[in-house]
């Protein structure tokens, strides 16, 4: 074996230098990680690298909850004041009398009643008739387009990756997909992302659940990586540190008496809250929630598929806000879905793929209200039978980026290439 890693025949460039004889310390400095305590010699737990403050990020933790399958915003936040609503939805529509009245036009589905207190305490806002600039009614194509969020550009990354790229690289928990390890396209790109089913599932299988087991594996893996190239060495060190951090979080009891529904979205949000409260440097966290593709048997206001799903969603969001308590002031959650549903119900008691939709924003700094411009459901105002999107979904995200993460208008243009609306934001959140 030789330890030679320098090869004189290589072209001299930054990459070659990195691959050859640059020291780990200088490398880390070069990418702005000088303060992270990974260096040659014994590895230290990543926990030591985090103070209570994430030095590279002063904004909110942004939680993006993706409602996969095409969320029916016309059920969740029903335009009960629009005369065409009841006409189009004679069996599945939300009757005006049963809705929680948000304003003169909109009523919230009673299955979301858990959210009433958040609404009245100015923690919850909606944007209605939001969507992409033009309709795309294919699930995958619409998700791709929405999460890449760069139409007409050749950007090969998602909008959250580009958001994270505005800042120096954070710790291993700075970008997390919670609830499943497969990453959303919004996070695709160079920024390292941690995907996990749950915090308790974030462990090294061979080491088991004891401290002694973790110590044994950490020591061996540390020693075996000492001579590894910088990138391999540092990713091993970072992983071992993150494992210690996660193990140190221990069992979790939600705060303030919060009670999460024991379903996917409830558990994912509970884990998210645990990470946020542990202050391990979460900048962006994504959660996928599927099962919204209700072509048939959507149910009625008091029974069925939509009622059940909204009940779980509302309960989970309410528990999340309750659990976070004051930390909701530095957390912003936004929902997004690839498209809304057709205005008219179909003969199977469901709704087909549509366009305009509702987005929910949960934060300590929202402006209560149903934002946006309501195009009405009048037949002449529909687009091929669909609610016309009058607010670009990027406007809502830009509003959060500017007000809640401190992004400039120019930085928004980096996140959303070709989007020029950031100079006049819809005002869903406040700085």
């Amino acid at each position: 074996m030789t330890e030679t890693t320098t090869r004189p025949d290589r072209a001299c460039c930054a990459e070659a230098e990195r691959a050859s004889n640059v020291t780990r310390r200088s490398l880390l400095k070069a990418v702005g990680l000088g303060t992270v305590a990974i260096a040659a010699g014994p590895m230290v737990g990543m926990r030591a690298a985090f103070g209570a403050v994430d030095a590279g990020w002063s904004g909110d933790t942004v939680v993006v909850l993706s409602l996969r399958g095409g969320f029916d915003g016309l059920s969740a936040v029903a335009p009960i004041g629009d005369p065409d609503y009841a006409l189009n939805r004679p069996t599945i529509g939300v009757p005006s009398g049963s809705a929680f009245q948000l304003d003169s036009m909109f009523g919230m589905h009673p299955a979301l009643n858990a959210l009433q207190s958040l609404w009245t305490s100015n923690k919850l806002a909606f944007v209605h008739a939001a969507g992409m600039a033009s309709p795309n009614r294919s699930h995958f194509a619409a998700m791709d387009e929405m999460e890449r969020a760069a139409p007409g550009s050749s950007a090969r990354s998602g909008w959250l990756d580009r958001t994270l790229a505005l800042h120096t690289v954070g710790g291993p928990f700075s970008a997390v997909q919670m609830g499943s390890s497969s990453l959303p396209e919004s996070l695709a790109g160079p920024y390292p992302v941690l995907g996990m089913d749950s915090i308790s599932g974030f462990n090294l299988k061979g080491a088991g659940s004891t401290q002694a087991g973790r110590d044994r594996w950490r020591n061996a893996l540390n020693a075996l990586h000492v001579q590894a190239p910088a990138g391999l060495h540092d990713s091993a060190a970072g992983t071992l540190g993150a494992l210690d951090t996660a193990a140190g979080l221990g069992t979790y009891t939600p705060g303030n008496g919060a009670s999460y529904p024991n379903v996917g979205v409830g558990n994912a949000l509970k884990n998210a809250a645990q990470l946020i409260k542990a202050q391990v440097g979460v900048r962006v966290l994504t959660i996928d929630l599927g099962d919204w593709d209700m072509h048939a048997n959507l149910g009625t206001v008091g029974n069925g598929w939509m009622r059940d799903n909204l009940t779980e969603l509302g309960g989970a969001l309410k528990a999340f806000a309750t659990d976070l308590g004051p930390l909701l002031d530095s957390t912003t959650l936004v929902t997004i879905s690839e498209f809304g549903r057709r205005v008219a119900e179909n003969e199977s008691g469901g709704v087909d793929h549509g366009w305009g939709n509702v987005m929910m924003v949960l934060s300590g700094h929202v402006v209560q209200g149903v934002h946006g411009t309501w195009p009405t459901l009048a037949p002449t105002k529909l687009t091929q039978g669909d609610l016309t999107a009058t607010t670009d979904y990027r406007a809502v995200l830009a509003d959060i980026l500017v007000n809640r993460t401190g992004a400039s208008v120019a930085q928004v243009a980096e996140v959303f290439p070709g989007y020029t609306g950031a100079s006049s934001l819809p005002g869903v959140t406040t700085a």
Binding site: R7, E15, A188, G206, W217, L232
Partner: protein, 620 residues
């Protein structure tokens, strides 16, 4: 016309220059007797004689190469002016120069008579080149060197790590016995490599070479689209795991990502398997052919929207990626006008919606003059559009920027994350010299000192590491179901590396820096643990102790670590690593091993996993 038959004896024909014949030369091969002076016995001593003689000009003949006897079956008797010099006979050629002809004088026939043997002697032979042309064959690199603190210079493992998905005991024997050049040349001609065991497993999957219309019909009549997509991944993974054609499988990954059509993309269920098959069957041939097949493939035409592109509204997606990703690269100055013209040319390349097959649709083709980089064409007719595209694709594939880009990508895949400019230039030059053929480029790369000096210098990406672990453990899919290949895919997917799952047309990144995340690392480690233990679940799995230790237990734990490391990596661990592993086991080196020792019973999986989690296995 007179028909004559003449049989020349071997001895007569051999007469030219042969001493034994010299004695009989006067009667057999002498100049015509009509000449006043008899031909002398020693032909070399005489002067040339020019004379008008008869010639049995041959029309047809038989020739026996073993006896060297020519039997003329049909000839025409003509009169010619011939020049005789010894036994050699000359006629003037069209330029008036005396030229030796394959005829000899027959005193029996009193005429010049054809000799096929002599004709063969006179036919100029092609000269073999002094040295084989660069790129025609792999040559053995002069020396080997490790680029890693964890590797020695074992070229058999190096080959299987780079030109394959990692070593197995059987493949190490094969590579060693065939030799460096022999194994690589066989890999570059995959149809010559027998692959029966793998083929038998693949036969249980839907035929991947089935016509698109056939798959579409099956989908229309009940075949599950997810199953069809997954069969592509299963087929590929079985081959990565088991195929003897390892280099072909690596190249399928390479081209499959170069021409990425993200698996599960809308509308490609019927064409995705055929797409992979199309790549597989052209992986070593001419890039022009590969590019043309890809550019007209329904999977690509669907994925990059060209099937929707029309003369009125050209969709730029495929026209742009053709330049940016498939050929010259974004750093080449084709500009937005180039993109538009590229898209315009591609209009008409479509998909028949009924069959799902490729169709050129002239009614969609944009006509008018086009120009992209140095390519221009009048493009005057709607029916001529496909020919314009063919010429355009040929132009792009021969462009120096394409050559350099492909060379860099291949060198990055096989040699180093930072290949030298010299190697890239050599590969690009070879690619162009061989009319865009891919194999010669690979040959010069595998012949290079740079490749031979890069042992251990690449980091295995998650899928590569997972498959190398599965190969080391010797697992193969169960006989009664196909769960295991899909389980492997999901494991790789968890680590972020579905081999054909990159959500963008760019394909999965190839360099280590893209895979240095906590998630990729943890999933790599946990995947290793799973594969060493019990997952994928539905596999034929050899006993771990047999795989990593063998039939005889070493005497001590120190020796045990040495034996396992040697079986896994071909050599023992560095001293400090061995110390760390013994500490992991909680024993000293001289602690005696018995069959009940933890390290060879319930603790064996941990020991193997921690070794496979280390750079000994992660670096390749």
């Amino acid at each position: 016309m007179e028909v004559d038959q003449a049989t020349l004896s071997r001895r007569r024909v051999l007469g030219a220059g042969a001493a034994v014949v010299a004695a009989t030369a006067a009667s057999t091969v002498a100049a015509p007797a009509a000449q006043a002076a008899q031909a002398p016995a020693n032909p070399t001593a005489t002067a040339a004689v020019v004379k008008k003689v008869y010639m049995q000009r041959v029309v047809s003949y038989r020739y026996n190469p073993s006896t060297r006897v020519t039997t003329v079956t049909k000839a025409v008797r003509v009169s010619v002016i011939a020049r005789f010099y010894g036994t050699k006979v000359y006629l003037k050629n069209s330029r008036g120069v005396w030229t030796q002809i394959p005829y000899v004088w027959s005193s029996r026939s009193k005429a010049l008579t054809f000799s096929r043997y002599l004709q063969l002697q006179l036919t100029p032979k092609p000269k073999p080149p002094a040295t084989p042309a660069v790129g025609t064959v792999v040559t053995l690199p002069p020396s080997w060197a490790s680029a890693s603190a964890y590797h020695n210079t074992d070229w058999t493992r190096h080959l299987l790590n780079r030109a394959g998905y990692g070593p197995t005991p059987a493949e190490l024997v094969t590579v060693h016995s065939m030799g460096y050049v022999g194994w690589l040349e066989a890999q570059l001609n995959p149809s010559r490599v027998s692959d029966t065991a793998c083929d038998a497993v693949l036969a249980r999957l839907p035929a991947q070479s089935a016509s698109i219309w056939r798959v579409k019909h099956a989908l229309d009549t009940g075949l599950n689209a997810w199953d069809q997509y997954n069969s592509v991944l299963q087929d590929f993974t079985v081959r990565a795991l088991m195929s003897k054609r390892q280099l072909l499988t690596v190249m399928e990954d390479f081209w499959g990502n170069h021409f990425n059509v993200t698996i599960y993309s809308d509308g490609t269920a019927e064409s995705r398997a055929h797409y992979a098959y199309t790549i597989r069957s052209r992986a070593f041939g001419k890039f022009t052919d590969l590019l043309t097949a890809i550019s007209k493939h329904p999977a690509m035409l669907t994925y990059l929207n060209n099937r929707e592109s029309t003369a009125v509204a050209p969709n730029e997606n495929q026209g742009r990626e053709l330049l940016e990703l498939h050929t010259v690269g974004v750093e080449t100055a084709y500009g937005e006008a180039g993109v538009l013209n590229s898209a315009r040319m591609l209009t008409g390349l479509g998909v028949d919606s009924d069959s799902g097959e490729y169709a050129y649709q002239p009614w969609n083709h944009w006509t008018g003059a086009v120009k992209v980089l140095g390519f221009s064409h009048a493009n005057a007719s709607d029916t001529g559009g496909e020919a314009v595209v063919n010429a355009y694709l040929s132009y792009l594939s021969h462009h120096p920027a394409t050559a350099t880009r492909l060379a860099r990508k291949l060198a990055t895949r096989f040699v180093s994350d930072t290949p030298s400019a010299a190697l890239i230039a050599l590969m690009a030059k070879t690619y162009l010299a061989f009319d865009t053929a891919i194999a010669p480029m690979l040959r010069v790369m595998f012949s290079s000192a740079e490749f031979a000096h890069s042992v251990g210098g690449k980091v295995a990406r998650p899928y590569e590491h997972l498959l190398s672990t599965a190969r080391r453990m010797g697992i193969t899919p169960a006989l009664d179901n196909f769960n295991a290949p899909m389980q492997l895919i999901y494991m790789a997917d968890d680590a972020g590396h579905n081999p054909f799952g990159q959500p963008f047309p760019t394909g999965q990144p190839d360099t280590a820096d893209h895979w240095e995340s906590t998630a990729a690392t943890l999933f790599r480690w946990n995947n290793t643990w799973n594969v060493v233990n019990n997952y994928p679940s539905d596999v034929v799995r050899p006993l771990l102790l047999n795989v990593v230790v063998g039939p005889t237990l070493p005497a001590t734990h120190g020796a045990l670590v040495d034996v396992i490391a040697t079986n896994l990596f071909g050599h023992t661990l560095a001293a400090d690593h061995k110390t760390a592993v013994l500490a992991f086991l909680g024993v000293t080196a001289d602690k005696v091993v018995s069959s009940s020792s933890a390290a060879v019973s319930y603790g064996l999986q941990s020991l193997v996993a921690v070794l496979l989690d280390s750079p000994y296995a992660t670096l390749r």
